[in-house]
């Protein structure tokens, strides 16, 4: 709990918008979709009051391309949407990854496939962590499980995006977006006005003391060997991200079974783990905070120590593949799915955790 500092009581969606404002976000481009509408609603008032630009675009496709444009100019910019909207944005996201344009993208995951429903879901794990659009690329993917984390991760996302010249994705869901919790805001960031100085597009004077060659930002590389070089550069970048992998662990030290769950399901599973601990069951929790890079080292270490694993997800089984890859030399992971369309509660997880614990 925060000391004496004034806490604000806000929805996760609002926390994301506030985190973005404090991080120096200057442009927001969006198109309405439940369950993330509080983000554009907040930005349409407070970003504009702060002197930024808010555009409700004519479509998700347009919003994503506006984001590409702002990022190419070195401007801290973001968009937010929910699953079907994210699908529409994928072309521009692929272009941004290919041409190394920083941006912050929020997906408040809802049920799918198709239009699905407006309830919480983790069905977009693959789309989020495997790139999402065409081509061989990755996004940095952050998965908050509280309003405070939603705030903090968004606050940090802009720095990460500019440091690595890559889009950063915040992956929440309807629970994270709609739940209200207290947050402690941070001091607003003073953004370096020269950020992106050596690559951003701000107009190249053809004469005078500032005369320079024009810059080109593109994702089309037709010359011999050029695309391979670009892809190797991207690959090196993704490799360097591995040190950013982060997770929360809870009661894992003497645990026989470690539950792996992220986001809203992570915190609900934590409740179940705590309830079972009180009954003397040796269970623990690992909650990935970054989904890409995935906290594979932390999982491998637990696997090497002889733990067994149960992945709980709000989908038909997606993250479990990454868990299995992480622990593959020593262990496997079981899977418990909460089907999108259902609202899980801790009671729902205790029986499957006990079943997995009992199977040796």
């Amino acid at each position: 709990m925060a000391g004496n500092k004034e806490r604000l009581f806000v929805k996760g969606n609002e926390a994301i918008a506030m985190g973005a404002l404090a991080a120096g976000c200057r442009c927001f481009f969006g198109y309405p979709i439940t369950p993330q509408n509080d983000i554009p609603e907040f930005m349409s008032k407070y970003l504009v009051e702060a002197g930024g630009q808010f555009v409700q675009a004519e479509s998700e496709v347009a919003a994503a391309n506006m984001l590409l444009g702002a990022g190419a100019c070195g401007v801290r910019a973001m968009t937010s949407s929910s699953s079907p909207g994210l699908s529409l944005k994928q072309e521009a996201i692929s272009y941004m990854a290919g041409s190394e344009i920083p941006a912050v993208i929020v997906n408040m995951n809802r049920g799918g496939p198709g239009l699905g429903d407006i309830g919480p879901s983790q069905g977009d794990y693959f789309q989020s962590t495997r790139g999402g659009g065409h081509g061989d690329y990755r996004l940095l993917v952050l998965a908050p499980s509280s309003a405070q984390e939603a705030y903090d991760m968004t606050f940090d996302a802009f720095d990460l995006a500019f440091a690595s010249r890559n889009p950063v994705l915040i992956l929440g869901d309807a629970i994270i977006g709609q739940m209200k919790e207290p947050i402690t805001p941070r001091e607003p960031k003073a953004v370096d006005p020269a950020e992106g100085g050596d690559w951003r597009l701000i107009g190249a004077p053809k004469s005078g003391p500032d005369k320079r060659e024009h810059r080109i930002i593109k994702s089309l590389f037709l010359n011999d060997g050029e695309l391979a070089g670009q892809n190797m550069k991207l690959q090196a970048k993704y490799e360097a991200w591995k040190k950013l992998a982060a997770c929360e662990t809870f009661e894992v030290n003497d645990a026989e079974l470690v539950v792996v769950a992220y986001g809203s399901i992570g915190r609900i599973a934590k409740n179940a783990v705590r309830n079972l601990r009180a009954k003397g069951k040796k269970v623990g929790l690992l909650r990935p905070k970054t989904l890409y890079p995935f906290p594979e080292k932390a999982l491998e270490k637990l696997a090497k120590a002889g733990k067994r694993f149960l992945t709980i997800e709000h989908n038909l089984g997606q993250m479990v593949e990454d868990v299995r890859l992480s622990v593959r030399h020593y262990a496997d992971s079981e899977l418990f799915c909460v089907y999108p369309g259902n609202m899980p509660s801790p009671d729902d997880f205790e029986a499957p955790i006990l079943r997995a614990l009992g199977r040796k």
Binding site: M1, F9, I175, M179, A269, R274, N275, A278, S345, P346
Partner: protein
Amino acid sequence: MKRYIDVIMAGFGGQGVLLIGNLLAYAGMREKLNVTYIPVYGVEMRGGTANCTVVLSEEEIGSPIINTPKSLIIMNRPSLDKFQSRLADGGIQLVNSSLVEPELVEKGGRIRTVLVPANELADQVGNARAVNTVMLGAYVASTGMVKLETVEACLAAVMPAKIVPLNVTALRTGADYALKQLASMPAVKKPAKAAAPKQAKPAKSAAEKKN
């Protein structure tokens, strides 16, 4: 024992359950508790039902969604039908007896019920729309989870200043009514204010003892 309670508040859209959910959460936050508030989530419509879940805890809150709540605020009949059977053993429910027939309330001592004629009390206070704050006053007095003064101090965070005094009266009216009823309950011999927090304890899950 650490302080912990969760509550589902349910009623017709327009009865103000989301507002008092927010209000209780603010009061919890003011008293340095961890709090979560989550509104019912779906395709809602005017005249339909509304509910929200609030959790107050000294410890970190895992799930904001609760299947078997330790307390309920029931504003209308459909809410009683939906939630009464989900109330945890030893739990307490505040039922708006202006709109819910008392015969429908579960008997047998598994749970405790405080009946509050909230619509009539709100009329007495001077505004029929204060039915929600009457119920919250009764709830706060019955559970003792936060101080009524704290709730009063948080009113301005969730409503326009000009209706705060009316709602202070409404909170107190609901609280007084509930305390009188609790004092006359055969099962609760001790003064209601002291007895109420104890009531919440057996309902607390064993998990809360740990760490």
